[in-house]
Every structure is written in C-alpha cells, then in structure tokens.
Symmetry: C2
Subunit: 328 residues, 2 copies
C-alpha cells in the first residue's frame, strides 16, 4: 500500500494527546511553537538510532518506536528534567504502513505515558534511522550536571549494569524467549524520569549510563575533577550477567557494555540519611556502589580485592556494526 | 586517521561562538540547557538530508554542512523567527577527518553568521545522513503561520523558482562550472532570515518553498481555506529555467521542483503601499505573483492565458533516489 508522506504523518503521528505543556502550534506548519513557563529552563537532547549499528536488522517496529524515545528520555532523566516535547526525524527505506503503524504506536504510547507532545519532525526516504530530539523543563538553575561531584560523595547507580549488553547477545542468538529479563532490558529500557526528578535537589552530579558505566562515570569524574572507587561486589547485576562474567572469567565485562540506560549519580554524605534516598535504597531502586575520592580515574575493586583502573566505553567509530565493546 | 567520537566532536564542533542567546549549558552534558527570554516563544523545526535522496553521493562536505543548516534556517525564516540554537545529528559511514573538518566548517560558518549556537547532537556510524533541529525566537503570538491568508491578499515570492531544480540537473550532469547561478542556487541556498523578520508584522501567511511552489502555496491555501490565482508571467525565473521550460515545452515544470528555499507569503492589500514592502519589491527581493481568491485550489494563469490547476509537490515515498518530481 503506497501512502504519501503527508498522509503517513497525519494518519499515525498527528494524534491528540493530553500534553502536560501543550504546544502553541504543533505538527503542520514550518515550525512548532512552544512556550517555556516562567522560572523554567529548557533541557534539549538528541539521540540517533541506526539500523545494524544501534539495533538489529528487522527489529520489531513497536519496540523500536518505544526504544528510540526511551533512550532520549534517559538523557532528560539524567538532568532531572520533566519531559515536555519531542521531535522525530524518521528515515525509512519504504512507506510500509504496517511498520509505521507499529512504530508510531510504540513511540506515542511512551510519549503519552509522560504527557509529552510530538511537535514535529521529518519523514524521509533512506536507510532506516531514527533521530529524536527531546525537550524537557527544569526549574531555572537546578539541573543535575556531570560537574558537581565532590570528594566524600557516595556513588550510586539505579538498576543494574550489563543486563542490556547480555540481552543484545541473546537477541543476536535468538536464544531466549521474550520474557527473559536481560532481553527485556535490552529491548525495552525504562527511562528513570521519576528518579531524575527526585534527585533534582539532592544529587551533586548525574549521568545516564548509555555507553557503559566505566565510560559514563568517567565523564562525571573528568567534569568534576575527581576520582572514584567502585566496589564490584556492590554493583547490582542480574543472575544472567553474573553467570556470563563467570564464563568469560572477566568481571569487568558489564562495565563497558552499552544500552544500560541507568542513572549513575553522586550524593553528598549528609544525604545518606535523607528519607527519600533511604526509601529508594531499601526498595533496591538505587544502590550505593562506591565513593568519590581525590585524584583522577576510576578504580574498580574486584571481588578478590585487586584493583583495576578502567576508563573506556562505547565509541561508535572504533567498532563495526552491532558489537559490544569490551575492554580488557 | 582514526579519531574517537569524543575527540571528533570536541575538535571540530565544540567551538566558542559569539552567540546571540548563549546557552546556559552547551555541548558536553546529557542535555543542553537554554533560557527563553520573557515575552518570547520558541520556534522548533527538524529537517533531515539523506545521501542519494536529498544530495548526490560524494557531495562536497563543506557545501553539505552549509546546506544542512540552511534548509533548516529556511523553516525558521518562514515563521519570522530569529535563529538562536541548533542541534546536529550526524550519521557517517566512517570517521574521515578531512570530511568532518570541511563539513563542520560549512555548518559553523553559517551558524556563526546568524549568531547561532550549536548546543548538542549525536554523532553515529551508518549511511550518511544529517538531521538538524533548529530553535529560534519570536515575540509571543507574532509568528507567521500558514493559516492567515484572506481573500484579496496579494501572493508574493522571494527570489525565483525552478533554479535549484535546474541546478540539481546540472550537478548530476556535471555540465556547469561552479559559478553557474542555478548550480549555486541548488548547492548554496540563502535562507531568508532577514526577510522573515521583516514580514513578521506584515504578512498574513507565510511558508518556505522547499517542495515546489505548487505544493507549498497549496499548504497556505488549505490551511487558510482559500484559493489563489498565480500569473506565470509574473513569477521570476532565471534565464536558464526559462530556456529549460522552453525545451521541455512545459511551463509548469518549475512549480514542482524542490530545493527553492524561497518564501511564499501573502500580504493584505493595504500593505501594497507599505514603505518596507515597496522597497523590497523595487529591489526585486520579493515579487507580487498573484492574488488570494475565494474557493479552493491553486490556479496558474499560463503565458497563453490558459488556466491550469495544480496542487502536488515533492513526496519522498512516491519517488526513487534523486529525481525531480514533475507533474503534468
């Protein structure tokens, strides 16, 4: 079924939503028009997913629609921003109505669950690629940055690491059913929007872990001019990941796998007793995995007590298509 | 020369600029942070250029950097917005330093000429594609929309039509030197930012002509619920285009070629005597090409006095790679 570009956009993407911050002008003119409320500032982030690089060929379009927005929401969560608007640049080899319908459903369901409005974008023909720009709102001057970690702060992590990396391997091998927790973590990461907002007045620094904990925590350390010591025994991992690193005989493996989309953040010591923080720790939503120290670099204290310094992660131009980066 | 993603971004894109509206946080965190001045609203637009669809394989990277921003600035100009910030999602087959250096130069030179700040984006590996999101500022409630044209308004056009379409043919044939006016129009369109701002309190409706005058003026007509009569003899075209349509024996050809990036707008009759407008007309920056009428559709009065109704333009999914769409 051949559909024209305008019909496609209108039919599947231009739907009424219950937006938290309705645009003054949405899809259908040369630009969208939005109003930033007084005392708020705008957080903007862009992430692109390319077929065979960020996702496997013939991926489920519904899951892809979900994930292409989720990875962008993850960036908003890392600043503590409230999602408001999103723009979608979709490049497709052909106007396959079934694909577009499923993709738009996955994308819009997640947008709606955050009362977020799709305000525009572009639909073009070409190799499958999805570039999303999200816009969120923050009280002026309150954003969580990478640069605020101080010596003595605790290092915290939401969720676990390595699970999505293992999920990718399972997806490539088609060896698991769709309920496998690692596969789900890879296919359907949950952006930590609520957590980010709760950290807004608490965390001293924050980042989303998309390129591996080693690389992303290193960004905090470099921006803040500090070092960190992380205790491997404290870092949460799924049973699958624990088995996998035993097979590999490499505990550092989950520190450089991509696609975790967890928050890594630092908290001043005084906040260890903060009720909200204690509640999040008790519910295993966040885990205290290490400490900020004076100096440079990331030290991981392995389970045998030895120490390893690592600081590299996912780098697009140093790798071939779909491959987890692994530093030894 | 192999460069890592972070080095690439830092080296070529993260440059200090004299921004009209400096971001509170630019490249280098999970999100950029921007402040929208009070009494202003934000205009946002996204456009993607894909190799072999929107530009020829092996295009000059400097010109491509320029054009990928220019086509987006054209959308801001159509709303009358002042350029402020831009986000760049760049997908490249390989980290070719020469290419990236030239591309960034073309992109940033144009950004700087509009005191615009590059606030973030994403660099990924994959088939060459460039997705740009521009953000501009407007006095609240003053944006030029597609929907304000009224019966009796004049229809105006900046520059000319068909020249970029002919430039594309010349680029494909490699038949012209780099000073050919049609080739220049195709490779280096000039966004009408100043004109857009001047129209802000004057035009009743405005659009940028990117998919052909027929399709884009039709968007104004549909959004405004009116018809238009355009007089072919009044529509500016280059000598090259005039010859080309003579060869084709098809006066309608330039009405559905892409890439013009001109402004088409409507002006209330009272403004015919506006000093600013008269000055623009005298300098041939804008031309009065027709009238808004009651009814539906676009009528073109051909040079022999016959009338043709046309309303179609460039539609990505109805065409193969690089091909000018031509309706007869």
């Amino acid at each position: 079924m051949a559909l024209s570009e305008f019909t496609l956009i209108n039919q599947y993407f231009n739907k009424q939503v219950d937006a938290a911050f309705p645009a003054k002008l949405g899809i259908g003119d040369d630009c969208a028009l939005i109003d930033v409320p007084p005392n708020m500032e705008l957080a903007v982030s862009t992430d692109t997913l390319v077929e065979r690089v960020h996702f496997l060929a013939n991926s489920d379009p519904h899951l892809l629609g979900y994930k292409s927005l989720a990875v962008n929401l993850s960036d908003l969560s890392a600043m503590g921003a409230k999602p408001a608007w999103v723009s979608l640049a979709l490049t497709l080899p052909e106007a396959n109505e079934h694909w577009i319908k499923a993709f738009s459903k996955g994308f819009l369901l997640l947008a709606q669950s955050h009362s977020m409005q799709l305000i525009g974008g572009d639909t073009t023909q070409g190799p499958l690629s999805i570039s999303v720009t999200v816009m969120g709102l923050l009280p002026k001057g309150k954003a969580l940055k990478r640069s605020g970690a101080s010596v003595g702060d605790g290092v915290y992590l939401s969720g676990n690491i390595g699970s999505a990396g293992l999920g990718l391997i399972k997806a490539q091998q088609m060896a698991s059913d769709s309920s496998d927790e690692d596969l789900v973590q890879y296919l359907k990461p949950m952006p930590n929007i609520d957590l980010g907002e709760q950290l807004l007045t608490r965390a001293s620094a924050c980042i989303d872990v998309s390129d591996g904990l080693a690389a992303d925590l290193s960004h905090i350390l470099n921006a803040s001019g500090v070092a960190a010591r992380v205790f491997h025994k404290n870092v949460p991992m799924t049973e699958g990941v624990k088995q996998h690193i035993k097979q590999l005989d490499d505990e550092l493996w989950p520190y450089s796998t991509g696609d975790d989309y967890q928050l890594c953040f630092t908290l001043p010591k005084a906040l260890t007793k903060d009720k909200k923080i204690m509640g999040l720790v008790e519910k295993n939503i966040i885990t205290h995995i290490g400490e900020i120290e004076a100096g440079k670099g990331l030290i991981v204290v392995m389970s045998d007590g030895s120490e390893k310094t690592i600081n590299k992660g996912f780098q697009h131009f140093n790798k071939g298509p779909i491959e987890t980066v692994h530093d030894k």
